[in-house]
């Protein structure tokens, strides 16, 4: 609905604006300007026409002998007319045929006037020349007369008088051209023609010249008068007046239109202003509306913020709860971890204990009891028994052997028990370390890497033997380092144990495990454990270090996870590499090399 109204409003506004523009163009000042120019051109045309007429009259009364001024106004007029024509011939300026007809009337008039003026020039030149010559001709004749003898002169007196009269009437004719005077001149000419015969030859030619010129005047004067009347009859000025009238009329119409458009302009402008005012009111109103909505929004916003705060608080509570849970879970994880590691070492303890008990069970000390029994049976004849009896003779040797065997047995038991106590120490270490796990404090001590590796192997030695694993040692030149023995052992035991398990299913080739230790670039200590077991599939590669990931039924998924963590805690890292299932795997521990004191 509002869209429709808005469109309607825009449409009305646009319409009014375009009407105003149209009117502006329509009433443009151009019309007025060109009207003024056209009027001016017409005025100039009339002026030139008047000059032209004036020059004709000046030539008529022989004021001017130069005919150039009778040519130049026409050139001027042609130029002016072309300008006027260019303005007025614009289509739509005047009623279609009106201008055309006025234009052709004017051009026709000018053409006719030009033609008559040209003829006037030719005839007037002849007439003026002959008229100017008359007194001279008369003087010539009178001169000839005066040279005649008195008798002849007397005889030709009337001829002289008649010639003189003819001259006078010719001049009168030039002023007052009436048929009567024309007849008189003609009569005079005829008389002269007759009288000529009586004149002497010399005089005859002079009279002849005069006659010819008077005949010319008689012929040309009416012609010139006629032409002048013709020129006057063609009133170019009146044609120009008609054009002026047309221009004025059109201008009046234009002015009236202009006036009307003014009124329209006022009305439409008022409409436009009203619309603008209305729009302004609408604008003010919508401002108020916007303000109201804004404040409502503000309130809503505040409420929302409160709720967000509340929620945040709730979230925080939940988070702390979660963290507690996580901590407990972590503790559980640590416990599992500890138990796992302890389990690993307990394995060794178990094996050692088993070994000791087996040794004790098959101890050579039992042989001593048997020997003592023999001695007790022969307590009375002991000397005899020892020297004479076949059995008795062997007894001292046997005892000697037994002493040696027992000593040997004791030695091995002592070793095994030492190992056992070492394992128990390790368990103690694990527990004590885990007790202070949160602190993640590490105890750095000088270590020999090869010894460390040997310890780790020993802790797994029972299992390795059981599983028929051959250990290949490739220890490089590694100096004594400062390191966290417990963590390193933890990692190594785990890696060795994993390698052993990885090769559990191998039956088609020897179970080789390769241990390597080397220093890279003098900065990094690398220790790697390589097996030739089942390998790691591609898809498991990213998950093997994750907590809880395991491929074994009885596994916990803590070993590698804790190893990776321990590596990171020592500022190193643990990486795995495998070509795929069945191709074995290599685990490599990289640590920053920290030399122990006194090492180069």
């Amino acid at each position: 609905m509002t869209t429709l109204r808005r469109f309607g409003l825009a449409f009305i506004g646009l319409l009014l604006a375009s009407i105003l523009l149209f009117m502006y163009v329509e009433t443009g000042a151009q019309q007025a300007a060109s009207y003024i120019e056209a009027r001016d051109l017409v005025r100039l045309l009339k002026q030139q026409d008047a000059i032209w007429d004036n020059e004709v009259l000046k030539a008529r009364v022989a004021l001017s002998h130069n005919y150039d001024p009778l040519v130049s106004p026409l050139h001027e007029m042609n130029g002016l007319w072309q300008r006027l024509d260019a303005i007025e011939s614009v289509p739509g300026r005047h009623a279609a045929t009106l201008w055309e007809s006025l234009r052709s009337d004017y051009l026709q008039a000018v053409k006719e006037k030009t033609r008559l003026v040209e003829q006037f020039k030719s005839h007037n030149a002849l007439l003026r020349n002959s008229l100017a010559f008359l007194p001279t001709a008369e003087d010539d004749i009178q001169g000839e007369f005066s040279r005649l003898s008195d008798a002849d002169r007397l005889q030709l007196q009337n001829v002289a008088i008649e010639t003189y009269d003819l001259l006078l009437s010719s001049m009168e004719f030039a002023q007052v051209t009436t048929p009567e005077i024309a007849a008189e001149v003609l009569l005079g000419l005829n008389k002269l023609e007759i009288n000529k015969e009586r004149l002497p030859a010399k005089l005859q030619s002079s009279v002849d010249i005069l006659r010819r010129h008077i005949a010319l005047i008689l012929r040309e004067q009416p012609r010139v008068n006629e032409l002048l009347q013709g020129i006057q009859a063609i009133s170019v000025a009146s044609r120009l007046d008609t054009i002026t009238n047309l221009l004025e009329k059109d201008q009046e119409t234009a002015a009236a239109k202009h006036q009307r458009n003014h009124v329209y302009l006022l009305v439409f402008a008022t409409f436009l202003v009203l619309i603008l005012i209305w729009l302004a009111i609408r604008l003010v109103r919508s401002f108020a509306e916007i303000k109201r909505v804004n404040s409502a929004l503000q309130t809503g916003n505040d409420e929302l913020e409160q709720r967000v705060e509340e929620r945040t608080r709730q979230l925080k509570d939940t988070q702390s709860e979660l963290m507690d849970t996580a901590r407990q879970a972590g503790m559980a994880e640590i416990a599992t971890n500890v138990l796992h590691n302890v389990g690993n070492v307990l394995n060794s303890v178990n094996i050692s204990a088993d070994l000791v008990s087996r040794k004790l069970r098959s101890s050579k000390a039992l042989g001593l009891a048997k020997a003592m029994q023999l001695i007790n049976e022969h307590a009375d004849d002991l000397g005899h028994f020892l020297t004479e009896d076949a059995k008795g003779k062997l007894l001292p040797g046997y005892l000697n052997q037994l002493v040696e065997a027992i000593a040997l047995e004791q030695q091995s038991l002592t070793d095994e028990l030492a190992q056992l106590s070492k394992s128990v120490d390790h368990i103690k270490d694990i527990v004590s370390t885990q007790q202070s796990y949160a602190g993640a404090n590490s105890l750095l001590e000088p270590l020999v890497v090869s010894e460390l590796l040997e310890d780790a192997l020993r802790m797994n030695s029972g299992a390795l033997t059981r599983h028929h694993v051959t250990v290949i040692k490739e220890y490089g030149e590694v100096p004594r380092i400062m390191g966290d023995k417990h963590r390193l052992l933890l990692i190594l035991i785990n890696l060795i144990s994993n390698a052993k398990y990885a090769m559990a299913g191998v039956s088609n080739h020897a179970r080789n495990m390769t241990l390597k230790a080397a220093v890279l670039d003098g900065e990094t200590l690398t220790i790697s454990v390589k097996d030739e077991g089942e390998g790691i599939p591609e898809e498991n590669m990213t998950r093997i270090f994750a907590h809880g990931f395991t491929t074994r039924k009885e596994g916990h998924g803590f070993g590698l996870h804790s190893c990776a963590l321990a590596a990171i805690e020592m500022n190193g890292h643990l990486t795995a590499h495998s070509e795929g299932p069945g191709t074995g795997a290599t685990f490599e521990l990289q640590l920053p090399l920290k030399l122990a004191e006194g090492e180069p």
């Binding site: 002998h65 130069n66 030719s122 020349n129 010559f133 001279t136 010319l216």
Partner: protein, 319 residues
């Protein structure tokens, strides 16, 4: 007596000094106006075209072939030869000062030089060409095409060729004739005989037709006012009918444009038919057939001497 002589001498001195700085004379004859300022590129083109035989159909005639500037802007034949070697209808009028004539051609059939160019080019006896050919020939010349496009927005066209030629002709004025100097106030430049000649020229009525800036060339006049020259001459032709051929008006029979008398001494032969070989003969014919007068004594000689003062200069050198 001595004081009188002194005053006379002073008067003469003042007079002579006045004559040097004198006001121009107010005579029916007027000195040449200054040459109009025109686009030099167009004038240059007009000059090339004026001397270019490509304007004639068989590439033999240029404007300059008949309007030879070294022969007073005309040629010395009674009738010039057209492109086909046959004589044209009328005597070649001089191209000098032609722009000051109120109409062009002997019969005044056109008003402007542009139109005059047109009629000469297409005339079957003069250049015998068509505008199509002319425009093509000019436009095909790279030099012309370039210069035209610089001088005219539309480049080579019939109108621009005509205008260039006309503009060039408008520059062909011969100022500084001795008589013009006389009119400008330097009255000492004419000899007494020449001044007498001018006086006779006015007295006998030559001035009736030969006046104005071009000393003629501003009106039409019947040839044979006081006698039938053409009949007396014999062999009347179509061209002898003059303006009648243009208007068809009986009154215009044997009516011609009055020719300019500027440089008349060097443009023999005379009249539309070239039938007067010398200036003396032409003056005599004028006396007899136009003025109906008998020249007294040596008046013809004086008038001829006066007419010779009307020869002007072209490119700073007397013609």
């Amino acid at each position: 007596m001595a004081s009188h002589g002194l005053i006379l001498a002073l008067g003469l001195l003042v007079g002579s000094s006045v004559s040097v700085h004198a006001e121009p004379l107010d005579e029916p004859l007027k000195p040449l106006p200054p040459v109009p300022a025109l686009d030099p590129k167009r004038v240059q083109l007009g000059q090339r075209l004026f001397n270019d035989p490509r304007l004639s159909i068989n590439n033999t005639l240029s404007c300059a072939s008949c309007h030879r500037l070294d022969k007073g802007g005309a040629d010395d034949k009674a009738l010039s030869l057209g492109f086909d070697g046959k004589p044209v209808e009328v005597n070649t009028p001089t191209v000098f000062n032609a722009s000051l004539n109120f109409h062009q051609f002997w019969d005044g059939r056109v008003d402007t030089l542009e139109e005059q160019v047109h009629f000469v080019v297409i005339s079957p006896t003069e250049m015998g060409n068509t505008w199509e050919t002319v425009v093509k020939r000019i436009a095909d010349n790279p030099g012309y095409a370039k210069d035209f496009s610089e001088a005219y927005p539309e480049g080579v066209s019939e109108a621009s060729i005509r205008n260039a030629l006309a503009d060039y002709e408008r520059t062909l004025q011969t100022p500084h004739s001795r008589f013009d100097q006389y009119l400008q106030g330097n009255t000492d430049i004419l000899t007494p005989r020449e001044k007498f000649g001018y006086q006779r020229f006015k007295e006998y009525g030559c001035i009736a037709c030969h006046q104005g800036v071009n000393i003629g060339g501003n009106m039409f006049q019947k040839f044979g006012v006081m006698g039938d020259y053409i009949q007396d001459r014999g062999n009347p032709t179509r061209a002898d009918e003059g303006r009648f051929n243009v208007t068809g008006d009986e009154a215009d029979r044997q009516v011609f444009k009055v020719p300019s008398l500027r440089n008349v001494a060097i443009t023999a032969p005379y009249f539309h038919s070239g039938s007067a070989p010398t200036l003396e003969r032409a003056v005599e014919v004028m006396f007899k057939y136009q003025l109906g007068r008998e020249p007294a004594g040596k008046d013809t000689e004086l008038i001829v001497e006066f007419l010779k003062t009307l020869t002007g200069e072209w490119e700073g050198k007397p013609l």
